[in-house]
Subunit: 321 residues, 2 copies
DNA sequence: CTGAAAGCGCTTACAG
DNA sequence: CTGAAAGCGCTTACAG
């Protein structure tokens, strides 16, 4: 293994100078810095992260925390975020570690150990729940963190999110403008997550602007009878804005079972369905998970330029596909 | 931060003794070991992984490598595996790092950096492709690795997998025995992955044993006309064994479009569909991703007992749900 | 059974 | 602009 000592020997310099040169310390002459970098390259020098982290008292690692309970389908989204994050992290010579478990205790222990034993000072949470014990713990530690999803009202921390009001607005308008939907309905779950509230608000805005009558339906987890009844009760519906692709696809299939020859346009969120399951009447809003991961890293690690105020959040765009 | 030096001072011992005691070195008396552990507990001692790793010249980290190209839906499976792995890793005071990227170069760079800079010596790959550049690189390095999925014929390394022949056999028999299917068909993709070949073999075995006529259909990614034609050409079909839940659900919906009043039983693999999308005629083989993750860690990190031969692979059970 | 000392590969305050 | 020295928190060969 090549160390800074080897570089120093080859150039007749001290290890201190080599260390500073590699870190582009301005106290070292440009010329020496260039020589050091060239020699490092030539010898195939690779810094030892464990040594660096030990002296820096801080790991070059971002801890990524998964939620304890999530719908299996959200995993699709999480891996997209990981992909976006890691590209950024590697550029910055950072490493990605994950904390994931079946219980809150497990995850808390995992994160605590990351802080005290691995000296990790930077975290990204793939969720943003209210009264979450992991978030509460992180707030009391000397670490930085960013959540995917904005905090509930009254709370404040770094986060990345979509503009979900706009996403709801755009979704409804897409059906109205592109497909001349007369009566698009909004389908949500019973969970009332913050993003559901926002998207519904956007839907309602668009419907009002178009001078139409809003219709909102809360779909249960199972029990096909409920959506079937809803569909029969609303023969006028000709468009669906669904809180996610799964609810959208479910409604679509129920609708086609009841009216095999009637057309309906469906718009879901997350762009998470494989091609096998959809057709041309099905649309989705891509909320750009890769971009969210990338933004989360930037928010977490990039220092603001001189005089610039630090960002408190980044809003990532969405796109109907 | 509490260090072994603090423990040593409090007990009037040397750091060497404390270090050995904490590592349960038999050269230290039981009594001293107990005292040291008690004091460590009392002071809230937490080992500094960076220091440990620097001296050990090896990180307490397992690098988990994601495939470059995968179907989005496989992410569901990967996160299940991560969950299973991490529980085991935490128990062993190990940390989970991931390598994921959009291109082979990115992933290779990521893994190389894990080896040389982070000193990671243990890897788990979430795939097992033939002629994979990452695998080829790992084989030339002084590291251990386990793949999820068995290597192709002629190759040999540590792996975890299901018994896919049996999974195919059990799937076909489930439809035959539980639902008296007379003509279950097998639906596969055009990819001919090893697990597809194995499951098909199992299906064929079961069909032969039952004295029935096998029917195998390769479903294209898009183009509903192809499955529609197949369904019309095979009016006798009353059961489907599908290579994954998505292909199964797709076939199911096409079938119901053509024969709204005819019943058919479908069995897919992976148990990856949310409740919203299925009904009582849809079944799935859970291949236990959590268990696979757990087994991968055991295979990778647990030394065989004295005299015991080292395992070369672990086969994880499956279950129809 | 225990300890003093060297070393892992870095960074940085101090000195010149 | 550069260097000698101390230190980060561990482990382990050597000595007793």
């Amino acid at each position: 293994m090549v160390t800074i000592r080897d570089i120093a020997k080859r150039l007749g310099l001290s290890v201190s100078t080599v260390s500073r040169a590699l870190n582009d310390n301005k106290r070292i002459s440009i010329k020496t810095r260039r020589n050091v970098h060239q020699m490092a390259e030539k010898l195939g020098y690779q810094p030892n992260y464990n040594a660096k982290n030990l002296t820096n008292r801080e790991a070059n690692t971002v801890g990524v925390v998964f939620p304890v309970n999530n719908r299996v389908v959200d995993n699709i989204f999480y891996v997209g975020i990981l992909r976006g994050m890691n590209a950024q992290l590697n550029q910055r010579n950072y490493v990605l570690s994950i904390a994931i478990g079946d219980s809150t205790e497990q995850v808390i222990d995992n994160v605590k150990s990351m802080i005290t034993r691995a000296q990790i000072k930077h975290f990204i949470l793939l969720y943003s729940h209210q009264n979450d014990p992991v978030i509460e713990m992180l707030q009391n530690e000397d670490v930085d963190f960013v959540t995917i999803g904005k905090p509930a009202a009254g709370q404040d921390w770094l986060y990345v999110d979509n503009d979900n009001v706009k996403a709801g607005f755009d979704g409804a308008n897409f059906l109205i403008n592109e497909f001349h939907a007369q009566n698009p309905v909004f389908v949500q779950t019973h969970n009332d997550w913050p993003f559901e509230i926002d998207r519904r608000k956007g839907y309602l805005d668009a419907i009002n602007q178009a001078g139409k009558q809003p219709i909102v339906f809360s779909i249960p987890d199972a029990d096909d009878a409920v959506p079937d009844q809803f569909i029969k009760d609303h023969p006028q519906m000709d468009g669906i804005v669904a809180i996610d692709d799964y609810s959208g696809l479910k409604m679509y299939h129920r609708f086609k079972m009841i009216y095999p020859d009637k057309d309906i346009e469906v718009l879901g969120y997350n762009n998470s369905l494989p091609a096998e399951l959809t057709d041309t009447h099905f649309h989705s809003v891509d909320i750009h998970p890769g971009e969210m991961g990338k933004s989360a890293v930037q928010l977490l690690l990039d220092k603001p330029e001189d005089g610039e105020a630090a960002n408190r959040h980044i809003i990532v765009g969405h796109q109907i596909v």
